[in-house]
């Protein structure tokens, strides 16, 4: 079948493997296959799949003896790195990447884990937890078919040419799982908040939430940080004007040219049906029926902007009676409530608002009334805000600070800001490798500190002189992290530390200005 051959094409020597398995399943001998919920590449022989999962399971069981709360995080084998992520209790995701002969620090474990985390969070947002699905359909067909299409659609975004490019050292000045914010002046911020409040109040007494993006940057949210990250990620992947205008690629530094490689990504995503192994093989129920109704929120090019400015998609099917496309729904992490996701776009401004499914009567019809009502109330303000933000918008390179290549992460708010991608590419390989290595170190320190003294955040300061004489600097202070590469810096450490001080005072409110 098409997928099999396509997958073969991508599984070159540098292939990546990704599996999801459930430790509670297939406990008896001969039923091991039942554990597997997802495996990429799907056409890998079961024996090979088993060997990956068997090893992982063994290690998890072993390490749990010493650390029941947090078992294995990663294995560094001779030629492969295994990255573990316990997405839900006993549901594990493992990514296996091949080590590079050329570079010592090609991968950063934490960056890869963030990929696993992201795909799982998005999955849960749209479909609910994997465990709940397994409970609903103990045979596992439901979970497998959903995971398969979802993860494959997700991985499609990492395809470059015929290769899946996972985040490597070149992406050291990026942080997945964070939100990028637009910096706005007070006046614009008040206008935005005014818009948000009117939006909130215009849905009547419905407890609704909203998220506002300008280009690929977040302007406002009323959601919890976790939900914000998920919806933001989805919006940047599929909804922002950049994505919608075909051919253009998002310049957001986290996203590669998602739509630029339509042909190659279709290799993965055209696989509308699930391979044989996922249905019927160890389950005789009417699996085929289920799989054909799988909703694929990450399917490419399925969103379009309607005349009324609302974004529409047929991913969620259509209401049988009216033929109107069904509105997407998402689960909120915080309230565990199912919400309608309505997206409205005016020029560069994307407005997402979420209305509880339970509070809308008459389904789609009731919802469209609410949507129109909201639009009526906010349209004027929407225009005003868009205009104001456009005026203050500095363009793609707005957050470039000349002389610096930086990444600033606010872990408390899941917010990051970094040098624009175009500027990062000017850095030499040596600098980036050194940074990747440094970050790996910092990640380790952080997680250690977390176990040593929970609740007390570590302060950390590392400055490294790389082989190419660049300064590579990391500073961590009370939940905020700053990574920086200074290639044209002076010889002395004093100079480098001065540069950091200046940056901190100017752009971080003095958060990193100690000593």
């Amino acid at each position: 079948m098409g997928l099999a051959s396509a997958s073969t094409a991508t599984t070159g020597p540098e292939a990546m493997q990704l599996c999801i398995f459930d430790l509670r399943r297939g406990q008896n001998e001969g039923q091991e296959l039942d554990k597997i919920l997802f495996f990429y590449p799907a056409d890998l022989p079961f024996s090979a799949q088993f060997s990956v999962i068997g090893l992982s399971e063994g290690l998890i069981t072993f390490t749990r003896i010493f650390s029941p709360e947090a078992a294995c995080e990663a294995i560094e084998a001779d030629r492969h790195s295994h990255v573990f992520y316990e997405a839900e209790p006993d549901i594990w995701m493992v990514m296996v990447v091949e080590k590079s002969m050329e570079y010592e620090a090609k991968w950063r474990t934490d960056a890869l884990r963030k990929v696993l985390k992201e795909v799982h969070s998005l999955f849960v947002m749209f479909h609910g937890s994997v465990r709940a699905m397994l409970d609903k359909d103990p045979g596992g067909v439901l979970a497998r078919s959903h995971l398969y299409s979802f993860v494959m659609d997700y991985l499609g975004d990492f395809l470059v040419g015929k290769k899946l490019l996972m985040p490597s050292f070149r992406d050291s000045l990026k942080e997945r799982g964070t939100v990028q914010m637009l910096t706005v002046g007070r006046e614009a911020a008040i206008e935005v908040q005014s818009l948000v409040r009117v939006l909130e109040s215009s849905a009547g007494n419905l407890p609704c939430h909203s998220l506002i993006l300008f280009q690929d940057l977040l302007v406002s949210t009323t959601l919890s940080p976790d939900d914000t990250v998920n919806l933001f990620a989805y919006a940047v992947l599929r909804l922002t004007p950049h994505v919608l205008s075909s051919g253009a690629s998002s310049w957001s530094y986290l996203r590669k040219g998602a739509t630029a490689n339509v042909s190659s990504s279709s290799i993965l995503s055209d696989s509308g049906t699930v391979p044989e192994q996922y249905h019927g093989s160890h389950n005789n129920s009417s699996a085929g029926d289920n799989s054909s109704r799988v909703i694929r929120p990450l399917k490419l090019d399925k969103w379009s902007k309607g005349n009324d400015g609302f974004l529409a998609t047929d991913i969620w099917g259509a209401e049988p009676s009216t033929g109107v496309s069904a509105t997407p729904t998402v689960f909120l992490h915080q309230s565990e409530e199912r919400m309608y996701l309505c997206a409205h776009q005016h020029k560069s401004l994307t407005l997402l608002f979420l209305i509880p499914v339970s509070s809308v009567l008459n389904g789609e019809q009731g919802l469209s009334t609410v949507k129109q009502q909201v639009l009526e109330n906010v349209s004027l303000k929407l225009l005003k805000v868009e205009e104001k933000l456009s005026k203050g918008w500095g363009g793609e390179n707005a957050y470039h600070v000349s002389g610096y290549r930086y990444l600033l992460v606010d872990g408390d708010r899941n917010v990051s800001r970094a040098s624009p991608t175009g500027k990062v590419t000017t850095l030499s390989k040596e600098s980036l490798l050194a940074l990747s290595k440094l970050r790996e170190e910092v990640d380790r320190e952080k997680s250690r500190a977390q176990w040593d003294s929970p609740g007390h955040e570590k302060e950390l300061e590392v400055s490294i002189r790389a082989k190419n004489n660049a300064w590579v600097i990391a500073r961590v202070t009370r939940g905020k992290e700053l990574y920086m590469v200074l290639e044209k810096a002076n010889e002395t450490l004093l100079y480098a530390s001065d540069a950091v001080e200046k940056f901190s005072n100017r752009y971080c409110g003095g958060a990193f200005s100690l000593n």
Binding site: A189, I190, Q193, T222, L223, D412, H456, G479, L514
Partner: protein, 740 residues
């Protein structure tokens, strides 16, 4: 000026009357019957009601309006009296004896002299005193105007200037300083002169519009059909067109007269009053009054026509001071039924807001019932606009505005509606700040309408500009003028300025004497060179408020709207947050400063509903401007949310509140960071024991040693303190324990 005081005082006892009207006349009239009276005259230049008797003239002050005022009298020789007016400095009395002669009395010396027409062919239509620098008195004659100046040496009048033109009749009001001279067959051709302290301005000749009747007989305009009206410092002329049943309005500019549109009339007899810049058109036959607020372009009436009512009886008056007086005198002041006929045939309307009953010799002052007016409309923003323009009962208007603002929020009206209401209040405040009208520090909300002893005396002459140095040392300038009700004899109206909206915000300045004691008072003359008398203590009437503008400051918005509403509101505070955001937007737009207390409230509201993410956005985007109060509230609200707490800490650091920052860092357990920071910013007020204690609690002997070393190195003499000894011992114990 007293109108403000007395009316708001009275209305406290009157508002319960329940009668449906927007305009009322307080029950108590000024009685001016004296034996042998030969008619009554109103001297609008001095706001005096004059009643000549056989050999003297009785004189009542109508400003401030006090029904109990006793008349003064001047002796006068016998003779016919066509009209009578005091000079503006009150030194002379002029009496028109006939259409040929005007006689003058020098009140000081008692001397008299007369001025007669030069030729028999012309006759005197009337006269008025003026504060024009060129002359002192103007005779209006059938042949034009004669301008005379008084020569104190020769003790006679000297002709300064003559303006020749045919005059059929004329209209003059002192508040506008404008004389309109009618000529022509229909008397509809007008020439106008404004004789103000700025000089003489001649208006271009203009014609009034008059509809023709079917019979082709041309109607003739009478003096009763013309009203000169001053509202918001602008001068209008209203003309009754009986055939079209319209009231045409004209606005006077320095060089042009512009017809402004027409108002319908429902009565063949129409009278006009102006109370606090609100135009009252009395439809005398229909016995109703229609109110117009000619501020914007709108010619729509404020509300439906309603009757004018008498209000208030002594027993219902709860004002202790006044009711005492009234009780003792009530036997004299009862009015009988026949006296209380609304729109009686004998009523005369005096400029701007007095009504005189000729047959009963009673004088009333007209009042607006702001409460009733504001209750009659549901259009909240326009009601607030109307109230914000009221100067006469500023305190009352302010209270009404505050209560309306509270109500709309408590009723959870749509955010957009409330936002518009807030816009009105904020822009009005901003405007009053710009024009300097807002009296800082007035505690309006706490001023009760009655029973409050006040040491305030209103000043009789307005047109002053007094600047006061308040406690903060910031000088606030109050520019005052008589405003448009023009009770001052020295009213100064710049005609050219009547165009500008600034004039609309002139106000009567009353200065709280209590506030002035100990503060430097300087009275400067800004635009006019007039003597003023800011504190007139001989006035017995108690003033209940010195408020001169109903503008509401952000602080008052907080204290009297947001804070009380927050207490009363139940359920989700998100609505109130939305309203506060709208207020901040409005304030930001008008560049009005918002005090931290509102920000603190916002934080409390957001934290209460656990909307920490939004709270973070509010702080990071500086919607809530950084201040120590805000930082402290973030720390307080952040007890449940460490992110919010950090925001508070970061804010302290960014505000360079080093001591607080260090102290809080130590409290949070970040004593090493705190030490580093303290060293950098030379904070040495935080006690060493706090750091040592924190290090001890962390149970890390290395850290404790480091902290100990730090203080030993940087604080001279630390080695000898008990802290050092205590913790040095603890440290040794810790180390020995580890070693063991």
């Amino acid at each position: 000026m007293s109108g403000k005081a007395s009316s708001s005082q009275l209305s406290s006892g009157l508002s319960g009357s329940g009668a449906l009207s927007h305009v009322y006349i307080p029950y108590l009239p000024l009685r001016c019957n004296v034996p042998g009276s030969r008619g009554l005259f109103y001297d609008d230049g001095n706001k005096l009601l004059l009643s000549p008797a056989s050999d003297q003239v009785f004189c009542w002050k109508t400003v401030p309006f006090d029904p109990m005022v006793a008349p003064t009298s001047d002796s006068l020789t016998e003779g016919p009296i066509v009209s009578i007016r005091y000079s503006l400095d009150l030194k002379f009395i002029a009496v028109q004896r006939s259409d040929q002669e005007i006689q003058f009395w020098d009140r000081g010396s008692g001397e008299t002299f007369s001025q007669r027409c030069k030729s028999e062919s012309e006759s005197i239509l009337g006269f008025f005193w003026t504060d024009c620098p060129l002359c002192d008195i103007v005779f209006v004659k059938t042949s034009g105007l004669d301008l005379f100046a008084y020569n104190s040496e020769s003790k006679s009048l000297q002709l300064v200037e003559t303006r020749k033109l045919n005059v059929n009749w004329y209209v003059y009001t002192h508040e506008s300083r404008l004389v309109l001279l009618a000529s022509g067959m229909q008397c509809k051709t007008f020439t106008g002169f404004q004789l103000s302290s700025a000089g003489i301005i001649r208006l271009p000749k203009f014609e009034m519009a008059m509809a023709k009747s079917e019979a082709n007989n041309k109607p003739v305009l009478a003096a009763e059909d013309i009203f000169i009206v001053t509202v918001y410092g602008r001068i209008y002329c209203l003309q009754v067109d009986r055939i079209a049943m319209l009231l045409h309005s004209y606005r006077f500019y320095r060089d042009v007269v512009v017809q402004q549109g027409s108002l319908p009339i429902y009565s063949s007899k129409v009278a006009v009053s102006v109370v606090d810049n609100v135009l009252l058109v009395h439809q005398v036959d229909a016995k109703v009054v229609i109110l117009y607020d000619i501020y914007a372009d709108s010619r729509a009436p404020i509300s439906a026509p309603l009757p004018l009512l008498f209000r208030g009886f002594p027993r219902s008056n709860s004002s202790s001071l006044r009711s005492n007086r009234e009780d003792t005198e009530s036997s004299e002041v009862n009015i009988s039924d026949h006296e209380a006929i609304i729109y009686g045939d004998d009523w005369t309307f005096l400029v701007p807001d007095l009504i005189f009953s000729v047959s009963n010799q009673l004088l009333w002052k007209i009042h607006l019932d702001l409460e009733a007016i504001s209750a009659s409309s549901s259009e909240v923003p326009s009601v607030l606009e109307f109230l914000q323009r009221r100067k006469l009962e500023a305190s009352k208007a302010k209270q009404l505005c505050l209560s309306i603002a509270r109500t709309v929020i408590l009723e959870r009206r749509p955010v957009s509606t409330v936002a518009r209401a807030i816009d009105v209040l904020v822009s009005s405040y901003s405007h009053s700040i710009k024009t300097g009208n807002y009296l800082k520090g007035t505690k309006a909300g706490k001023t009760l309408p009655s029973g409050m002893p006040h040491t305030t005396g209103p000043k009789l002459s307005a047109d002053s500009s007094a600047s006061r140095v308040d406690a903060i040392g910031k000088s606030i300038k109050y520019e005052s003028s008589a405003g448009v009700d023009s009770e001052s004899p020295n009213r100064f109206l710049t005609f050219s300025n009547s165009d500008s909206e600034e004039d609309a915000s002139f106000f009567d300045s009353k200065i709280d004497r209590g506030k002035l004691t100990g503060a430097e008072t300087s009275v400067s003359e800004a635009r006019s060179s007039l003597v003023n008398n800011p504190l007139d203590a001989n006035l017995s009437e108690q003033q209940e408020s010195q408020l001169t503008s109903p503008a509401i400051s952000p602080d008052e918005m907080y204290s009297f709207v947001f804070a009380p509403v927050e207490e009363e509101m139940v359920g989700e505070p998100s609505y109130l947050v939305a309203i506060i955001v709208e207020f901040l937007r409005s304030a930001n737009l008008e560049k009005v400063e918002v005090r931290p207390n509102l920000y603190v409230l916002t934080i409390q509201l957001l934290a209460r509903s656990e909307r920490y993410a939004e709270l973070g956005l509010f702080v990071l985007n500086k919607i809530l401007e950084p201040s120590k109060e805000v930082a402290m509230q973030l720390l307080e609200s952040g007890r449940q949310n460490s992110r919010t707490r950090k925001l508070g800490l970061d804010m302290l650091r960014q505000l360079s509140l080093h001591e607080d920052y260090v102290l809080l860092l130590v409290q949070e357990g970040y004593y090493l960071e705190a030490l580093r920071y303290a060293r950098k910013y030379k904070v040495n007020t935080v006690r060493a024991s706090l750091f040592l204690e924190a290090a001890f609690i962390s149970n890390d002997s290395q850290h404790l040693a480091a902290v100990l070393r730090f203080f030993t190195d940087f604080i001279p003499g630390f080695r000898d303190t008990s802290d050092h000894n205590t913790y040095y011992r603890i440290l040794s114990e810790m180390n020995s324990y580890i070693a063991a």
